[in-house]
Amino acid sequence: MNQPLIKVEALKKYFPVRSNHLFKTQKQWVKAVDGIDLEIQSGETIGLVGESGCGKTTLVNVLLRLEDSTEGSIIFDGLDITRVSQKMMRDKVRKNIQIVFQDPFWSLNPRMLVRNVIGEPLSVHQKLSGLALSEKVESLLDMVGLPKDSLYKYPHEFSGGQRQRIAIARALALEPKLVVLDEPTSSIDILSQAQILDLLQQLKEKLGLTYILISHDLSVVHYLSDRIIVMYLGKIVEQGPSEVIFNQPVHPYTQALFNAIPSLSMQNLSELQTIEGNVPSAINPPTGCRFHTRCPRVMPICSEIEPKAIYVDKDHQAACHLLKS
């Protein structure tokens, strides 16, 4: 196997919280990301799914070093980016990892012209300005299918889908190796969504990009991803090739997740599967397997020993006591 583009080991991110009890000084932590190992190969698209609040956004924020990690290492291009200085980060790493946020409106500075929005990375890293900058931005606009006269407009003059294109153009300006897409289409209508997904697919092929895609909409994940990672409460519970995960998930959580998706072929409410119980708190996660409080196939061992990730198949891993390797 060749060198992975990014390799994450034992990554943790804890957020401090104020305790809810009067005069109790004990410090508590939200364990948003709690020990994650991950390898991403160049050129693949990873779909990251899981219940809301399970730590997906936090994970990618740490990958981009928008938040500092609590523990663990992230090796990108042979460099541990949890340890390098902010300057090093700026000079060496930032231009290679970019992100497209969920909400295209809030991720664009409403008081900047599109030219400067897209041009900002170029002026920061390549010190482009004036005509050279405009030309480069025009070519980027062209690439994402926006007219050239968008240059001197403000973000609010565009529709949701167009704004998302601007955000993509901006992310691609420095020709990064890795692009993170955090819910890239969740706030736009179904027709624009189609176009954006299509564009992303094309750009990936054309520029040889690597994507990390986060989405609640499993059909979107299905559409783009090569590999899917399922998270539950700060941990990875299952990962494997997209088709495999969709068709033969092995972890009970993954199964439940996929069975709760309503589909057109269903006729009856009873066909939707539910998970009983409430989501446990990320401050005091359950012992043993984190899913055991809600797992339909829970065994005594589950509350005591934390299951290790096991290869079910080549490229298909899951962490559950039900599995025997």
Partner: protein
């Protein structure tokens, strides 16, 4: 069949609602007709901004005050035009008593400065005249009904101390507290996970059966509406573009918008999303709202607004055996032409 219009328990006729803006009055809702029978569930589907919430608020007479305007139409409920009721009548007779609503956003629907108990108590005291112990007992019953655990404890908590799912269920409990005859559920699961979503839908379904409620279910997920509702309507830019038995709409969409919508959705889990390329034409100001994206639209679509038309379709689904003549309506000049 022909007299059916008068039989509806709840009916909207020629409703049009607009918002005042700098550029003038911007219409956001224009519904020719929509009817719901007693004990029936009606699903309204539309993308974000289609006007679903505005419709719900209009029914309850709660449109945002200075901006929202009812331009025309009537909303008949049990033979009474709700739009003609005074604010006082709405508050005393209808809201909370006969009409109830579950709001879209559980985060902002609960008042942050009152405990769960304080919020439930006021409603129960007002609607059922219960006080003290009796009121508490009733509240606990309600919370049990929506399957909340540890109700004694929960009732003294503030909204921010609850999880999204718990909040949503409290809202449902309050909305259902007085056994309203008509429930509007405005995307009650929008901010929830698919797994929690399934649980909540099952709960509403159960309650509906127990109380014989009519439900207007609002959602943006066609599959969900298909599973949950008997009838379905498709809202596009404030206009009902298609209506019918939900199974029929899903299996035999007539309007081009519905067709694109449904064709994109995978039939089963293992299928991928499918997209047909969309073209964008200039908007037609006096024409069909879907004109700018329509692939089959012709000249007259840009100058005339199509009205809902009835289509008779052969029942293809076995589950529709009890209905002899399923009716489907669509607002398109060329509907049913292609499928």
């Amino acid at each position: 069949m022909t007299d059916q219009k008068t039989q509806f328990y709840f009916e909207i006729k020629d409703l049009s609602v607009g918002f005042r803006t700098f550029e003038g009055i911007k219409p956001v809702l224009n519904i020719e007709g929509l009817g719901i029978n007693r004990g029936e569930t009606y699903g309204l589907v539309g993308e974000s901004g289609a006007g679903k919430t505005v419709l719900a608020l209009t029914i309850l007479g709660l449109l945002p005050k200075p901006a929202g305007m009812i331009l025309n139409g009537s909303i008949l409920f049990d033979g009474v035009d709700l739009l003609k009721q005074s604010e006082k009548q709405m508050a005393e007779i209808y809201r909370g008593k006969r009409l109830a609503m579950i709001f879209q956003d559980p985060m902002s629907t609960l008042n942050p400065v009152f405990t769960v108990w304080q919020q439930i108590e006021r409603v129960i005291t007002r609607q059922e005249g219960l006080k003290g112990k009796a009121c508490l007992k009733r509240s606990l019953e309600l919370l049990d009904m929506v399957k909340l655990p540890d109700t004694m404890n929960l009732i003294d908590k503030y909204p921010h101390e609850l999880s999204g799912g718990q909040r949503q269920r409290i809202i449902i409990a309050i909305a259902l507290s007085c056994g309203a005859e008509f429930l509007i559920a405005d995307e009650p699961t929008r901010n929830l996970d698919v797994t929690i979503q399934a649980g909540i839908l099952k709960l509403i379904d159960e309650l509906q059966r127990d109380f014989k409620m009519s439900v207007l279910f609002i959602g943006n997920n066609v599959s969900l509406v298909n599973i949950f509702c008997r009838n379905a309507g498709i809202l596009y830019r404030g206009k009902l573009v298609e209506e019918g038995l939900s199974n029929c709409v899903v299996q035999n969409p007539l309007h081009p918008y519905t067709q694109t919508l449904i064709s994109a959705i995978p039939r089963s889990k293992s299928e991928k999303l499918k997209f047909s390329k969309t073209i964008i034409k200039p908007e037609a100001e006096n024409g069909c709202p879907y004109f700018s994206r329509c692939t089959i639209g012709k000249e007259n679509c840009s100058t005339h607004v199509p009205m809902l038309r009835e289509f008779r379709t052969e029942s293809s689904a076995e589950s529709l055996n009890d209905i002899q003549n399923p009716v489907q309506k669509a607002a398109c000049f060329y509907a049913g032409g292609t499928i």
